[in-house]
Amino acid sequence: MLGSFEYRDPRTIAEACRLLAGEDSACLLAGGTDLFIELRAGWQNPELLIDIKGIDALGELRTEEDGTLSIGAAVPLDAIARSPVASGPWVALREAALSIGTQQLRHRATLAGNLCNGSPAADTAPVLLTLGAYVMAASLETSRQIDLANFFTGVKRTALRNDEMICEVRIPPQPPGLRTAFLKQQRVRGHDLAVVNVAGALDPSSGDLRVAIGSCSPTPILLPSINAAGVSPTALSALAIESALDHVSPIDDVRASAGYRKAVLETLIDRLIARLVSPEGGA
């Protein structure tokens, strides 16, 4: 038994928001792969669990007319890892989704859940940060857009209010020819949290390079944009590494020491840049 909570599975966003507003201790349930571990450990003791998977609109993964990619809050990571599209933003998105857990977990875990969990190590977060993604959050009274750059507020803390739920994660249209990549260092191959994870997006026509880093700060972070136009790969790598070391504040924990994290970070960024500037473009 995971607790003495009441389980509800509303069919509409409005009903989910009504339930959420009516019970302070309510928890939203999507894949449950983080939540159930917390329930089992007694870290959370909600009176009410609101399962959002029965809301049809949240199960949609679609590209809109203007090119915006919309990923519903109930879309499992497996659906992202198996996307038939394997270019542009999907390169890094697929890699990050596939790097999370195991297939048993990816069949249940969701992209929105990965973000809401608020982990500094959330693997999809650096990718989404480099793509300028945002979430649409709904409550009984309001609906608002939260840029991912403002979403993470601390370890296990996000900008979501208690009465708000993510309905979808949205990725704005990307420049044609965008090259993306995601790299993750773990202690073992298989399911492990990241010691360091990095994502990059390079627009070859403008030279705009975005790099984001996880597991090295209280939240995943996006580095200031780097102008890669006319810069050699070696120099570009050095620039990105310098910026990264300026912005991270890694800690010693069970997975790695701060010093090791910095060393791994340098190596991962070097490899990331190599992949982004190569003719294959990280594909």
Partner: protein
């Protein structure tokens, strides 16, 4: 308490279950299908793997009420009229079983893969069982068993 109706290994089931009961507890304690095991209880070991609507999931991290309306397959559903499935026989033939604790989960992860493709790459086989920990046999025999079962099934004999 909530009433659920679902299909388990092809049999329709209806039950009243507490909201907080896991699917694993429902299968083991209510239906006495004890093939799926609780190893870690936090989705890391894979011993509780079952298929829900054809997809491998950790049944310790799913509520029984979430399985309402679903088709669930456990290792007990592998046999037909007391006859082992091709996959089960392949595990025996390859020596892919030692203590056996991980085996029901291994077989369900393999079954999930074989439902998607009968011609998996080695990488796909490894990925399919990456969430199933085996601490005695080692993985080579397990991977060989799944490869062998896929070959047999592709040639069109048995299930």
């Amino acid at each position: 308490m909530r009433r659920i109706t679902l299909t388990v290994n092809g049999h329709p089931e209806m039950a009243d279950v507490p909201d907080g009961m896991t699917l694993l507890e429902f299968l083991r304690d209510r239906l006495v299908l004890t093939g799926a095991k609780e190893g870690c209880g936090i989705g890391e070991c894979g011993a509780c793997t079952v298929l829900v609507n054809g997809r491998a999931i950790a049944s310790c991290l799913m509520l029984a009420v979430e399985a309402d309306g679903c088709e669930v397959q456990t290792v007990e559903g592998e046999t037909e009229d007391g006859k082992l499935s091709v996959l089960q026989q392949a595990f025996i033939d390859a020596g892919a079983v030692q203590c056996g604790f991980c085996t029901p989960g291994m077989i369900m992860s393999a079954r999930g893969l074989l439902l998607q493709t009968l011609d998996p790459t080695d990488e796909e086989i490894v990925e399919a069982v990456a969430g199933n920990l085996c601490r005695c046999t080692g993985y080579e025999a397990i991977i060989a068993a799944i490869r062998s079962a896929a070959d047999t099934l592709r040639e069109g004999s048995g299930s």
